[in-house]
């Protein structure tokens, strides 16, 4: 079994998971809301918690693992302190996001899908943020930014890093 990342306190994880499970006890088809709530509070769905969830919902561990691994949103460990998602879909491509991605990858020293070793930044692809008339688009730490360029995004990252 994978070891818990440093940021996870096993007791806290268990407590949070049990609380979330109790809150959703009477909800039909509750697995996705449960996983979202856990991730909203812990930053990830720790793999160690899957047996607990499975037992509570009368599902097999394989079924719960199957759901967690199916959806792009759920992660086994928390993202970096800053989380940059850059849209790769058609409308953003029409406004040059391929070149922008290459430039950012080189300037950040990260490929799409990677997190810096010091945990300061996660850089990911996303497919459509619904702001396609103002492409290219990015989401930084949950905030949507339209008509982005490398200079602006790097400035935003620096600004938020000093705030953090």
């Amino acid at each position: 079994m994978a070891t818990l990342p440093q940021r996870f306190d096993p007791e806290q994880c268990q407590a949070v998971t049990r609380e979330v499970l109790a809150a959703h006890r009477d909800q039909p088809g509750a697995l996705l809301p449960i996983l979202h709530d856990i991730q909203d509070r812990l930053g990830a769905v720790p793999p160690e918690m899957l047996p607990l969830i499975a037992e509570d919902l009368c599902l097999s561990r394989a079924e719960v693992h199957g759901v967690v691994s199916f959806y792009h949103d759920f992660r086994a460990s928390p993202p970096g302190r800053q989380h940059l998602k850059l849209c790769q879909a058609e409308a953003c491509q029409s406004m040059g996001v391929k070149a922008l991605t290459a430039e950012l990858q080189s300037k950040l020293g990260l490929e799409l899908g990677e997190t810096r070793e010091d945990g300061s930044l996660t850089f990911e692809a996303v497919y459509c943020l619904g702001n396609c008339a103002c492409a290219p688009n990015a989401m930084l730490n949950g905030e949507l930014h339209g008509r982005v360029d490398a200079e602006g995004l790097l400035a935003l990252l620096a600004e938020q890093e000093t705030q953090a």
Binding site: P28, G29, A30, L31, L32, P33, L35, H36, L57, E63, G66, V67, F70, Y71, H72, D73, F74, A89, E90, A91, C92, Q93, S94, M95, V126, Y127, C128, L129, G130, N131, C132, A133, C134, A135, N137, M139, G142, E143, L144, H145, G146, R147
Partner: protein
């Protein structure tokens, strides 16, 4: 009188809270306006309205004047002191002035039915919604027999706006005709297509209209429970729906006894988890049930065996949001718009490389050329428009020679294209259509649910094949690979379980057919046909 429409004597300033406006700095502009007013000892009322959808002007600030609302945009924080100096609170002239909002050509030439209130009201205010004809449809529906509500929707000619264009009234009639202890209304708000945001706009800029439409659907088919399945990429829509559903409950528009009618309708918001396939209706139902979002074979139809095995109406946001006006003004009023069998209006989303992108709600029948040049003003880059993709990642690429096609479901089908959810992505002449075809296969491979082989394996093989074609295209014709690509597309088209695998060949084949030179195929050969 509602807060957002206070008399012209009050200095009211509107700064949108729509995600597009926010993504361009609307919050900072709103703060700057409030601070500047305070510094000048001016009392103003700041309303966070929805967006009108004139996105090249966002953040678009409006003020109330005796002549009507006057618009300024795009406003940056640095423009704020100058706007005050120029007297914008009285609607006076400024370089960013756009005149009376309602007279802006782009907006004036639209037919706003579903989006009648968007940008005008404070979307979170129930009072404002009611003051602008909200809940009139529900009140009329409550006085009607369920069959009469279904008949009104059938009469309107409304077809599913999610993309499949199935007649909404017929879907409702099927569910109404089923006997079951529990039926459901499910709203598909998993708007994953690139080039679309009309669902998002409804949910952020006029959320009560969706809640009202779902409630009417519940009355019509005898469903007491509704779910909105919202994609996780839309946090602002989630916030708006969470707040407005709570307000609707508190005011008795949702609950066990809707407006004292004795009829129940409950509504719950569910968040998706980043899977494009969950926009496919049966995958969405699986996901709502807490499972992997894999596609179910049909039959059984969701109308008969849907959510938790019960009869279920599953409609797109725009379809449901169009229901209140149909019930308010009648099916005959709605179907008076449009052409042929495409009746009513379509919220068109003009996006990508376009000078004036935004939302254009028009009766069916407007041509692409009118949209691209008269509304859109040509490309954002100033270069010639080479291609447009209509209908999302599964829609065809259309060349300039097809720009006179009217937006009509049947006219598009005749071209081997689709209208889909009404999204138009514009590309200038720097686009490489072989790369776009490759991306279509790549996207399908990333998002395939894996249930059927043509989609799961075919998309990966297609991506590899297009990689080879792109590498070798400068070295002369490669008829073998082109034949193989066509054959693969044929297999995916005919053999896939749902539209993801079944329609990925649309962008691929249209790119190959209309832009063969990008694939190393000479345009004057028939090789690509």
């Amino acid at each position: 009188m509602s807060e957002a429409t206070m008399s012209a004597g009050t200095l009211t300033v509107y700064v949108p809270r729509d995600a597009t406006a926010l993504s361009l700095g609307a919050d900072r502009v709103a703060q700057a306006i409030a601070a500047e007013a305070k510094a000048r000892n001016l009392e103003i009322k700041l309303v966070r309205n929805g967006s009108r959808g004139l996105f090249w002007l966002e953040p678009m600030v409006e003020v109330n004047t005796p002549a009507g609302r006057v618009a300024y945009g795009p406003v940056k924080t640095k423009d704020v002191p100058g706007l005050f100096d120029a007297g914008f609170l009285e609607g006076k002239a400024h370089a960013l002035g756009q005149g009376l909002t309602e007279e802006i050509d782009y907006l004036k030439r639209q037919e706003r039915l579903t989006f009648a209130r968007a940008g005008i009201t404070d979307p979170w205010s129930l009072d404002d919604y009611i003051a602008h004809d909200g809940y009139r449809g529900l009140k009329r529906a409550l006085s009607m027999a369920p069959e009469a509500i279904v008949a009104e929707v059938t009469e309107s000619g409304l077809r599913g706006r999610g993309g499949a264009a199935f007649p909404t009234g017929i879907k409702w009639r099927t569910v109404a005709g089923c006997e079951a202890a529990q039926k459901y209304i499910v709203c598909n708000a998993d708007e994953g297509d690139s080039g679309t945001f009309s669902d998002r706009m409804v949910m952020e800029d006029d959320p009560y209209v969706l809640i009202e439409g779902m409630t009417i659907a519940g009355l019509a088919v005898g469903a007491t429970m509704g779910y909105i399945y919202l994609r996780s990429e839309y946090p602002h829509a989630e916030a708006a729906l969470t707040a407005t559903i709570a307000s609707a409950y508190a005011a008795g528009y949702l609950g066990d006894d809707v407006l004292g009618s004795g009829k129940a309708f409950h509504l719950e918001l569910r968040r998706g988890a980043g899977a494009y396939i969950c926009g496919e209706e049966t995958a969405l139902l699986e996901s709502l049930e807490g499972k992997r979002g894999t596609v179910r074979p049909k039959p059984p139809l969701p109308a008969i065996e849907g959510l938790f095995g019960q009869p279920t109406v599953i409609n797109n946001v725009i379809s449901l949001a169009s229901v209140p006006i149909i019930l308010d003004k009648g099916g005959a009023y709605y179907k008076d718009f449009g052409m042929g069998r495409s009746l009513g209006t379509l919220p068109i989303q003009l996006t990508g490389n376009i000078a004036r992108g935004g939302l254009i709600e028009k009766a069916f029948g407007v041509t692409l050329r009118e949209l691209l040049y008269e509304y859109g003003g040509g490309s954002a880059s100033g270069r010639p428009i080479r291609a447009v993709q209509v209908g999302g990642p599964l829609g065809a690429y259309l060349p300039e020679s097809q720009f006179d096609t009217p937006l009509d479901y049947e006219a598009f089908a005749a071209l081997g294209a689709v209208l889909g959810h009404g999204g138009i992505v514009v590309f200038d002449d720097t686009v490489d259509l072989a790369e776009m075809a490759r991306y279509a296969m790549e996207f399908c491979a990333i998002e395939s649910c894996g249930k059927c082989t043509p989609c799961r394996i075919g998309s990966t093989r297609g991506e590899e094949l297009l990689d080879q074609i792109i590498v070798a295209r400068s070295e002369g014709p490669q008829p073998g690979r082109i034949e193989l690509l066509k054959s693969l597309c044929d297999t995916m088209l005919g053999g896939s379980l749902c539209a993801l695998g079944g329609m990925t060949p649309y962008p691929v084949m249209s790119a190959l057919n209309h832009f063969p030179e990008d694939f190393g195929v000479s345009p004057d050969t028939t090789e690509a046909r």
